[in-house]
């Protein structure tokens, strides 16, 4: 394991150099199953710069979650190369370079919200005072101050997911990987959380990689939208989303927004994503 100083050096190097935060080239991943090989990802080329908000969008089975899991070192690619902060995903994971938010909040039911957020901090071996400070700071960031002593079941689904975002942020990573974090929530809560997430991103200047299957969500949040298509999972198109940084939900009615949404929809259609629906 690397020392804290080495990790900091690594982060600084990554930020100072013009090298992209994530660099993927000719990456493929094939799962061997009983029915023969499944090409989950094929020939992926992608680079994500520091401060980007990148969304992966595509129908189920296009490999968007798998690609995110490769970045997080939860899956190993079978071919090609990938670097995260200039090192292999495994080293990036050991450096705790990213925070990962899952589809479900995955809070431990026997821990209070505060203790759930403390979980990665305990694993990192931070002292009590530092833990307490980080818990407070991140609960405030996701507007959950005052809920530190509550158990997960005492919170609504949206609040639980916010707590899980606070837990990911508590590690103080430069990179936030989010796998359909709001997929299970109703639209009103989802809109609200999208707005909060955008503010958070603007405030903290983190790099975010976000998996979604909602076009409006992708356009609303992203600076870059990666359209994937299935069988084999591959990148169909990368669409720049140059709307202003401080967006509000109203922006979804503007012609610029609708134009980009239209391009994403066309991209998904052209990728034959709907052929067998």
């Amino acid at each position: 394991m690397l020392s804290a100083a080495e990790i900091e050096d690594g982060l600084e190097d990554a930020m100072q150099s013009s090298e992209p935060t994530i660099n993927i080239s000719e990456l493929s991943l094939t799962f061997e199953t009983n029915d023969g090989p499944v090409h989950a990802l094929s020939e992926i080329d992608l680079s994500i710069n520091h401060g980007d908000f990148v969304s992966f969008i595509g129908p189920s089975g296009c490999g968007k979650t798998t690609l995110l899991r490769v970045i997080a070192d939860l899956e190993k690619p079978t071919a090609g190369s990938i670097t995260v902060n200039g090192v292999t995903p495994e080293n990036a994971r050991l450096n705790r370079a990213y925070g990962y938010v899952f589809q479900a909040a995955a809070l431990y039911p026997w821990r209070t919200i505060g203790k759930n957020i403390a979980l990665p901090l305990e694993i990192m071996g931070l002292d009590r005072a530092e833990q307490k400070q980080r818990i407070e700071r991140n609960l405030e960031l996701v507007n959950l101050d005052g809920f530190e002593r509550k158990y997960p079941w005492q919170l609504s689904g949206g609040m639980q997911q916010r707590a899980s975002i606070a837990r990911a942020l508590a590690v103080d990573p430069d990179l936030l990987l989010m796998d359909e974090p709001f997929g299970a929530l109703d639209e009103i809560v989802r809109d609200h959380l999208n707005e909060q997430l955008l503010k958070l991103w603007d405030k903290t200047n983190k790099t975010v990689v976000f998996v979604t299957h909602s076009i409006p969500e992708a356009v609303f949040l992203s600076t870059k939208i990666v359209v994937l298509c299935p069988r084999p999972g591959r990148i169909h198109e990368v669409i720049d989303c140059d709307l202003p940084r401080n967006r509000t939900l109203d922006i979804r009615e503007t012609p610029e927004f609708l134009e980009i949404a239209h391009r994403v929809r066309e991209g998904l259609r052209a990728g034959h994503s709907y052929e067998d629906v």
Binding site: R93, Y98, A106, I123
Partner: protein, 300 residues
């Protein structure tokens, strides 16, 4: 149960008490009828020997329920025997059921504690090593296919030969039975965390040890308590079985054995009921421990 101000809970509590009472009454009624029928043959024999022909039904029934060595003693005979051998005897007396219960209970508890610890250790090894999973699990299952009555005397004899006697050999038979549900339940419990929770620990780059303490162990506790409830009940069975080949000196098993030597069916049944009561009490204690722990963890 009857929380004041909560009519629903009170109703549920009342109806539950009612249901339990009805079943209890039914069992006692069936027991009495069975006792009359089963003891009839011997009673008829007695009257024939005494040359008594004219016996009223009332007298006959009363006689069947108060024989000295009935085939099936009546409930009041058993309760009377339990009362005489607990409340009316000094606890240090060899004829006190409290004394014998304590012998069996202490064996049970020692065997249960060792069995639970053994089960937990085996489960931890199995979960963390593929080789041990493949090699240990079949033997653990095989161990339980051997009838305990067959292996109990062997264990006692072998341990006596190496100089271990007294409580421990009997406790080992309890251990032999009680480690099994704990090993199986705990293995399942330690493997119960979802893939997503395991992935989460990986994203934090947690080591195996941290995953164990912070995720696997807390997740396994409900499973552990469930298997401990089974384990403590069969630990008692093990303790009783363990007392049989030791020459029936003391313990509930000894009472059962000496009762059967001398045809003391009342004594057998009183030891039997005491054992059942003891098992129920032990399971209830584990259950309370379970509820308190899970409540403190915020799980219930």
């Amino acid at each position: 149960m009857n929380t004041p101000g909560s009519p629903l809970l009170a109703t549920v509590g009342r109806s539950q008490t009612l249901a339990v009472s009805v079943v209890l009454l039914l069992i006692i009624a069936i027991w009495y009828i069975a006792a009359i029928f089963l003891n009839t043959a011997f009673q008829e024999e007695l009257y024939k020997r005494a040359n008594r022909v004219e016996v009223s039904t009332e007298e006959f029934v009363t006689a069947t329920l108060s024989q000295e060595r009935p085939v099936l003693p009546s409930p009041h005979q058993v309760l009377e025997e339990i009362w005489k051998t607990t409340a009316l005897k000094k606890v240090t007396s060899k004829r006190s059921l409290v004394y014998h219960s304590w012998i069996t209970l202490s064996t049970t508890l020692v065997g249960f504690v060792i069995g639970t610890l053994l089960g937990i250790v085996l489960a931890v090894l199995i979960v963390h090593s593929r080789v041990l999973d493949k090699s240990l699990m079949p033997w653990i299952i095989t161990s339980q296919t051997i009838p305990i009555l067959a292996i109990a005397p062997m264990i006692i004899v072998v341990l006596n030969a190496v100089g271990i006697s007294g409580l421990l050999p009997k406790a080992f038979i309890s251990t032999y039975l009680s480690f099994f549900p704990v090993a199986v339940g705990m293995t399942k419990g330690l493997r119960s965390p979802d893939a997503i929770n395991m992935d989460l620990m990986k994203t934090f780059s947690a080591g195996n040890w941290q995953v164990f303490w912070k995720l696997r162990l807390p997740s396994s506790l409900p499973y552990l308590f469930t298997s401990m409830k089974i384990a403590i009940a069969i630990a008692l069975v093990g303790a009783i079985v363990g007392e049989l080949p030791t020459g029936a000196v003391s313990g509930l098993g000894a009472r059962l054995l000496s009762g059967s030597y001398y045809g003391q069916t009342v004594q057998i049944w009183s030891a039997l009921l005491t054992a059942a009561f003891l098992a129920a009490a032990l399971v209830a204690i584990v259950d309370i421990l379970n509820q308190v722990t899970l409540k403190r963890m915020g799980l219930s």
